[in-house]
């Protein structure tokens, strides 16, 4: 076996390639719970992909920092004096202790609580206690800085990537950018984050959460969220009185595993989630019309509704609802959800407040929609402990062969709103990341 071929003797590339079939729409359930596959994922997926860390507005001033993660590695995102951003491993080079332990704040330096090694906000080791007495001038501090990651922003969203060889964020986002812009490019002012990151733990594999936001309008249109919809109905209106829309599309990125889906001209689901005020703001307000002008398309500005999206691997968001989150992996069987809310920076205060309240009500740990997602994911995950259940071949065939690239309104590879083409794209890209160690073959 070629040592370059695999990171774990249990999983040769040939074996991994049998786990996912884009062509036939079949998944092997072991992708969700195998410990050895997860170790390969940390190396080949999370250490090579662009991971969402936060929003530019989380760290507006020099020295502002946010503690977060790339995969399971803790990192510090810090605003520099020249307004640039840096991301480095939150780990002292002396004995490996965390350098910073509050969730966020403003710092002039990061001082390790173990032996007092101090690093400046750029992540350079600047002070070592008793350096003269202990090291006698033999310590070259420049050799002992924490590992730096690449940082890049797209429309206010801050991503980081450990891999020097990986494509730029711009190339990485591939042809998915117009679909991101429906949430993040509605106004010249851009977006801002509402303060506070909500964090919670779900005992499930990260790919369930990522895939659902990438590709799964199906669960929203069928059984998963009926009670969440019921929670938003006016008195006297029941679930039997409403019609779940069917008119819409799904987009599968040509590279990168990203995907999105949305209804067209059907505001029903958005209204059930966000209520009339936000629905009006998104579909009919002067701001909505301005967004259409800005994007050169009323389709992208006002008519794509109830949109879900994932930027591979773990950045997911819902345009119009405006929740965005990273699904941080914690072993194959657990994730931490780190969710925040964004709003148009120039939206009226009452609209910002309405986005805040409706997100708390619907898409949060206690949200009437999100509560039920966790329920499905943990039950599936637990089931995969079974000897037979973990080897089950799962069906991901909806819309197989139906997508085309000649849609009059939507660029890229487009299928119906109830499709799993974007899911197949996500798993196919996962498979490539897992089995192609070189960017020579993997690059866009």
């Amino acid at each position: 076996m070629n040592p370059e071929d695999t990171l774990n003797p249990l999983w040769s590339n040939e074996k991994i390639k049998q786990l996912v079939s884009d062509e036939n729409g079949v998944l092997d359930a072991r992708i969700y719970n195998d410990e050895a596959l997860y170790d390969i994922e940390l190396e080949r997926v999370f250490a090579r992909s662009w991971i969402l860390l936060g929003h530019e507005s989380h760290v507006p001033n020099a020295g502002d920092f946010l503690n977060t993660y790339i995969g399971e590695d803790p990192v510090i995102l810090v605003r520099q004096k020249d307004a640039s951003l840096r991301v480095f491993l939150n780990q002292c080079r002396h004995r490996g202790m965390k350098l910073s332990r509050d969730d966020a704040g403003n710092a002039k330096a990061f001082v390790c609580s173990y032996h007092g090694w101090a690093y400046d906000i750029a992540g350079q080791l600047v002070s070592v206690p008793f350096e003269k007495e202990g090291h006698c001038d033999r310590l070259n501090k420049a050799d002992w800085n924490p590992l730096q990651a690449r940082v890049a922003s797209y429309r206010g969203l801050v991503f980081a990537n450990w891999d020097e060889e990986a494509p730029s964020l711009d190339d990485y986002l591939s042809d998915s950018k117009p679909y991101i812009d429906t949430m993040f490019n509605r106004t010249e002012a851009g977006t801002e984050a509402i303060g506070g990151i909500q964090k919670w733990v779900i005992p499930t594999n990260w790919k369930f959460a990522a895939e659902q936001f990438c590709s799964d309008m199906y669960h929203a249109g069928t059984t998963s969220h009926l009670s969440g919809i019921a929670a938003g109905l006016p008195d006297g209106v029941g679930l039997n009185d409403i019609q779940i829309p069917t008119n819409g599309n799904q987009f599968r990125a040509k590279w990168g595993g990203h995907g999105t889906g949305y209804f067209v001209d059907e505001p029903g689901l958005l209204a059930a989630i966000m209520g009339p005020k936000i629905t009006e703001y998104v579909t009919a307000s002067p701001q909505a019309k301005a967004a259409s002008e800005r994007m050169g398309s009323d389709m992208f500005g006002q008519r794509m509704l109830g949109q879900h999206m994932t930027i591979f691997p773990t950045c997911s968001f819902l345009p119009g609802i405006n929740t965005i989150r990273t699904w941080h992996p914690r072993g194959p069987n657990e994730i931490e959800v780190w969710a925040f809310i964004v709003v148009d920076a120039d939206a009226p205060d009452d609209i910002k407040e309405e986005f805040r309240k409706q997100n708390i009500r619907t898409f949060s740990a206690g949200g009437v929609f999100e509560q039920d997602d966790g329920e499905n994911w943990i039950e599936v995950q637990k089931l995969f402990r079974g000897n037979k259940a973990r080897k089950t071949k799962l069906n991901v065939q909806m819309g197989l062969g139906d997508s085309t690239t000649d849609h009059p309104d939507f660029p890229g590879r487009i299928g119906g709103v109830y499709s799993e083409d974007a899911a197949r794209g996500m798993y196919q890209h996962w498979l490539r990341m897992m089995t192609e160690p070189s960017w020579d073959t993997l690059k866009p």
Binding site: D102, D103, F340, Q371, G374
Partner: protein
């Protein structure tokens, strides 16, 4: 909102009259039984029309900023920021509709919960017929086959005298959860 809760005021307040203390505690015990026996509609009837059911998010903050704890804004998200709950009567009635819909998978089958309420400290409210009540809770949740969650925290209520079986309605409930990252797949129960 200069501070979330004036904890020093509560700590230094004189002990409440014994009969009042007894009455408020008995209200809480019965409220807990409603929740633990999934009598959602009866519990909902205890929420007054101006109910504000609020649970801010709690952050890890170094002591140089967090020493004052509940009065310090670095540890808790403020009223303009994200929260776990920030609900009025309409939002709460939506939650009731969800629970009564038969499709509320996160609570169907229902969680088995045990709400234990203690450390009750009563001070006079801003209105003549209201009481400000600080209490501690431990809520055990077990659901489905083996899921166990344990939640602990502090509640700050405004109770209003009411002409109902239990003698009070809840006008305001601020819940300070003793968790930063919520260690559960959801918060589908009430506190």
């Amino acid at each position: 909102m200069a501070s979330l809760i004036n904890i020093d005021h509560i700590i230094s307040s004189p002990a409440a009259d014994l009969a009042l203390q007894h009455e408020v505690q008995q209200f809480y015990y019965r409220e807990a039984l409603l929740l633990d026996n999934i009598k959602y509609e009866d519990w909902f009837a205890l929420l007054d029309d101006d109910i504000h059911y609020y649970m801010p998010i709690r952050r890890n903050a170094m002591q140089r900023r967090g020493r004052a704890r509940t009065s310090d804004l670095a540890e808790y998200t403020n009223q303009h920021e994200f929260a776990h709950f920030d609900e009025d009567k309409v939002a709460m009635s939506g939650r009731l509709k969800k629970l009564l819909s038969d499709f509320s998978w996160s609570e169907n089958p229902a969680s088995r919960t045990r709400h234990t309420v203690s450390n009750v400290i009563i001070t006079q409210g801003e209105e003549a017929d209201t009481l400000n009540v600080c209490s501690s809770f431990i809520v055990y949740r077990n659901r489905l086959e083996t899921q166990v969650d344990l939640f602990a925290g502090e509640r700050h209520d405004v109770l209003r005298r009411a002409d109902n079986d239990l003698g009070f309605k809840i006008a305001k409930r601020t819940i300070l959860m003793d968790q930063s990252t919520i260690l559960s797949n959801n918060i589908s129960i009430f506190f």
